[in-house]
């Protein structure tokens, strides 16, 4: 009855008081040190997340038990100004290896001055993630969406 509509991209910006090269490095090399650990998809609690520093590189989380879960791939690696990665976590909160179902995140780093950088992020093609019926089932039938939230709740509880 309903078709999957196009979902407007998400955007966000943040300004950091640091040189552009350093901000790019913090974002990429240091990915696991700043990504909020509650946002992860693996069964195990997240130990760290890794963004491999080259085109075609993997973007994945490592669990405390050593397990790994892919999130996406590096599509463009243009330090220190631009990074494009795919986000392939679908409506069931699982990695979907099919590139046709990959949403994209483009991050741009622009130097406002020698010691100030603006980071702009766009998460686009969100509709590719929505295998309409799957997402509906996930939300209403206690599937993936609920599972992720339960993982989040569990992780939060375990931390206290």
């Amino acid at each position: 009855m309903t078709s999957t509509p196009t979902i407007p991209p998400l955007t966000g910006t943040i300004t950091v008081d640091a040189p552009v090269e350093q901000v790019f490095r913090s974002f990429t090399d240091g990915f696991g040190s700043w990504w909020p650990a509650e946002y992860h998809i693996g069964q195990a609690e997240m130990a760290t997340a890794i963004l491999e520093p080259h085109q075609g590189g993997r973007w994945y989380e490592q669990g405390t038990d050593g397990s790994e879960c892919d999130w996406g791939r590096v599509l463009a690696w243009d330090p220190p100004h631009r990074l494009v990665v795919t986000w392939q976590i679908n409506g069931q909160w699982q990695y979907d290896p099919d590139p046709a179902h990959a949403s994209e995140i483009e991050i741009r780093f622009s130097a406002d001055g020698p010691n100030q950088t603006t980071v702009s992020l766009e998460h686009r093609h969100l509709e590719r993630l929505v295998d309409g019926q799957t997402l509906r089932d996930g939300i209403t039938g206690g599937g993936g969406w609920t599972s992720l939230l339960e993982l989040l709740a569990k992780a939060a509880t375990d931390q206290t």
Binding site: I14, V16, D17, P19, S26, W34, P36, L126, T140, W145
Partner: protein
């Protein structure tokens, strides 16, 4: 409030609204059921639900004398709003970490 419903940014920024959203993701519920699980009044729950409904994240239907709330089964708006929240938190976290990282050696004590 005449904001565009497509702009989910901020809707889940309120911790209580996020808690309601997450409770509804687990199970469709009435206002009373939600209020029992949260440290706020029924009328406060109703106000948050109205905001979530206006934003397209939540729908409701009458069942006898009860009104049951659940996440919008279309899911698209909910997914987008949730990811919006993820990025808002992630970028804030990044800003703090990047700011705290050591800057130029000449500006720092060794």
């Amino acid at each position: 409030m005449d904001t565009n419903g497509a702009d989910g940014l901020g809707l889940l920024g309120d911790p209580t609204r996020r808690a309601i959203f997450e409770l509804l993701a687990r199970r469709p519920s009435t206002v009373g059921e939600l209020a029992r699980q949260l440290p706020i009044t029924r009328s406060a729950v109703s106000q948050h639900l109205r905001v979530l409904k206006d934003g397209g994240l939540v729908v409701s239907r009458a069942e006898g004398t009860r009104r049951i709330y659940r996440l919008n089964p279309d899911g698209v708006t909910a997914l987008r709003a949730y990811l919006d929240r993820v990025w808002a938190e992630a970028l804030t976290a990044f800003g703090k970490t990047a700011q705290a990282a050591p800057t130029d050696p000449e500006q720092e004590d060794p």
